[in-house]
């Protein structure tokens, strides 16, 4: 099973983001999601929103994020995927944004506020640039909607484990297994599960049902310590690295 960690770009600053991406790659990440800080992230829970808020408070700019990724993406094997609001993409011009993302070395985009219904034009543009557009399916998605969404999906399918926002949860919804089973009959794309995943036993529980796990808030939470004290950077990076390794091992064994 693939292990896919998530971090927000620019928290606490972009040089640390670059180091963190390398640390995650070295710890066994098979793909890394890079969240673009956004002022109004409605799909995100408090931990990731706080991370975005910290980055924006330091005025992190899109251009600088792309520059940082351009530097890192060549140095690591794991593909990088950008998690970005359509508000940001649209503001840049969708064509310009996709080109910049591609040039920086992103392999694909996850656009949480561009649901399948609205995605057809954007999916075509992404295909033209040979970028993956990862689509999300929720526990509230009826099967006929899922079929519509999957029409535009490439890369993998992001299966939302629980109704609600991102964030650590102890239990995964009982319907999740059913949703994964149903999706398996509708697509040959890998199924990755995210929202609420934070521990190796949850990952073990998904074995044989999913092809990947996405872990965001549990990792991002560890960055909170750096907000006030940058002298801890080395220690926090090591901590995140070893946490990521535990999760990667759980996914890979």
């Amino acid at each position: 099973m693939a292990f896919m960690p998530f971090i927000a770009a620019g928290d606490p600053d972009l040089p640390t983001t670059a180091r963190l991406l390398k640390e995650l790659a070295a710890s066994g990440a098979d793909l890394i999601e890079v969240g673009f800080p956004y002022s109004d992230p409605i799909a995100d829970g408090p931990v990731i929103q706080a991370s975005y808020t910290r980055a924006l408070a330091k005025h992190v700019k899109l251009k600088e994020i792309f520059a940082t990724i351009t530097g890192v993406s060549r140095e690591i094997q794991a593909p990088l995927v950008s998690m970005v609001s359509y508000a940001i993409i649209f503001r840049q011009g969708i064509d310009a944004f996709v080109q910049e993302a591609k040039a920086a070395g992103f392999a694909g985009l996850i656009v949480p506020d561009l649901p399948g219904d609205e995605a057809s034009g954007f999916a075509a543009l992404m295909a033209k640039h040979q970028m993956d557009l990862i689509q999300l399916v929720a526990p509230t998605t009826p099967p006929d909607r899922a079929a519509k969404i999957l029409k535009h999906a490439t890369g993998f399918v992001y299966c939302i484990a629980v109704a609600g926002t991102t964030g650590v949860r102890k239990e995964l919804a009982p319907q999740l297994a059913e949703m994964l089973k149903s999706l398996r009959t509708q697509t040959t794309l890998p199924l990755a599960v995210g929202f609420g995943i934070s521990a190796p036993d949850q990952i073990h529980h998904l074995k044989g049902k999913a092809d990947g796990v996405i872990v965001g808030s549990a990792i991002v939470k560890l960055l909170e310590n750096l907000a006030s004290d940058s002298s801890k950077t080395d220690a926090v990076l090591r901590e995140i690295g070893s946490f990521a390794k535990t999760l990667a091992d759980a996914a890979h064994t």
Binding site: Y38, I42, A43, L56, F90, G121, T141, R145
Partner: protein
């Protein structure tokens, strides 16, 4: 600038036959929300269409608007202001006389009936100044529905009276501590709650913003304002007004006021935004005047944001206009030229509260004062035979602390 979305081209003139099935007002509107909400929005669209076609739903709504809200409220001839301006005749549509003191309750009664119809057991809402929160708490109390209102911590501090009223009505007011701690974040927080609770909860959005079908539903429920005003003007004067004026924040009272006049192409429509302290970014909330096309809170409209797409800070003396976005139908009306959008600053709005109070014996809300201030100017440029109808969207009691503070008076 941005590349256009794949969309339907503008028709060149506005029609009232919007939105289409995908929620498009011309190129604007639609749904830009997490997948978790999509099914609920589709369900709401279907249920609303059924309710709209059901005469018993309309009958129940009309009954409540009559006996509980106090509709129809009057169209009032502002005689002394008219004489003073020496131009067009000025009429006020008196939404301030509704139960709870503003137009907001037209929508919350309608959406509460929808909630009951859908069999949902809990209501959530967002509020800025607290008017929509109070109107939602009131409607929920009337039907015994549990109600949670999200309100920015900063707004809770500024609007203690409304917080007290909401709690008295049995609602839980939940402070929002993220981001700017104001209306924008209250909407984010309400949407997050809804994502986790969508199976049993309805979100009563308070303005003509957000994803389809909210801009349409809120406009429809608020259209009672324009329908009444249109009929009342015909009855009182024998003809339609020459110009209709309303203030625009998110745009619900103005959408309700304008919509029944959209196809009356001889009636000029003017929306008045909050000019705040001036045209510098962060000093105003004039989204249609200074904003760009963009996405916020699940809809494609005009928005105030920086060059990276981050939502901008906004300012207005009036908390109800203090919003960095605007309803997609207003964006459509702006681009088709059907409605003209202007702005009025803090100072003029504040002066107008006092002026209207002394001249007409009516204390308007700071929001409504923006519209009145423009109408008074405009009346002077028009002939005495012309008629201007202004939406007096709410009463000013909620603003007395702010007005006293800003005019250096003790309360």
């Amino acid at each position: 600038m941005s590349v256009a979305l794949p969309d339907t081209p503008l028709s060149g003139h506005a029609t009232s036959q919007v939105p289409d099935a995908e929620g498009r007002f011309g190129e604007f509107g639609r749904r830009f929300v997490p997948e978790t909400l999509m099914h609920a929005l589709e369900e709401l669209t279907v249920e609303y269409a059924k309710a709209k076609a059901d005469p018993s739903f309309q009958k129940q709504l009309d009954g409540l608007l009559h006996t509980f809200v106090g509709r129809p409220n009057p169209l009032y001839f502002a005689e002394r202001l008219t004489h003073e301006c020496g131009g067009a005749q000025i009429y006020f549509k008196r939404e301030d006389l509704n139960h709870t003191g503003a137009h907001k309750i037209n929508n919350t009664i309608g959406q509460t009936l929808l909630t009951l119809r859908m069999g949902k057991k809990r209501v959530i809402a967002e509020t800025g100044a607290g008017q929509h929160g109070v109107a939602t708490a009131t409607a929920c109390a009337r039907f015994g529905l549990p109600c949670v209102v999200y309100m920015g911590e900063e707004d809770i501090r500024r609007q203690k009276l409304n917080v007290f009223i909401m709690r008295t009505m049995g609602a839980e007011v939940r402070p929002v501590t993220s981001g700017s701690r104001t209306l924008r974040d209250a909407i984010n927080e309400a949407m997050r709650d809804w994502m986790a609770s969508v199976e049993n909860t309805h979100y009563i959005l308070g303005s003509v913003v957000g994803p389809h079908p909210f801009p349409m539903i809120v406009r429809d429920f608020q259209s009672v304002i324009g329908k009444e005003a249109r009929a009342q003007c015909l009855e009182a004067t024998g003809r339609l007004p020459d110009e209709v004026v309303a203030c625009v924040g998110g745009g619900s009272n103005s959408a309700g006021m304008f919509y029944p006049f959209v196809d009356d192409t001889n009636v000029e429509l003017t929306g008045v935004e909050a000019g705040g302290r001036g045209p510098k970014a962060g000093d105003h909330a004039s989204t249609l005047t200074f904003g760009n096309k963009g996405i916020l809170h699940g809809t494609y409209s005009y928005v105030l944001q920086d060059e990276d797409g981050q939502t901008a800070d906004v300012h207005s003396i009036s908390a109800g206009l203090d919003y960095p976005g605007v309803g997609p139908e207003h964006a459509y009306w702006k681009d088709t030229g059907r409605v003209r959008y202007v702005n009025i600053g803090d100072k003029r709005a504040l002066d107008t509260v006092q002026h209207v109070a002394r001249t007409e014996g009516i204390l308007p809300a700071l929001e409504s004062s923006h519209a009145i201030a423009y109408a008074l100017e405009r009346a002077k440029q028009r002939n005495p035979s012309d008629i201007i109808v202004v939406c007096l969207s709410g009463r000013g009691d909620k603003d007395v602390n702010e007005v006293a503070r800003l005019t250096g008076q003790e309360l």
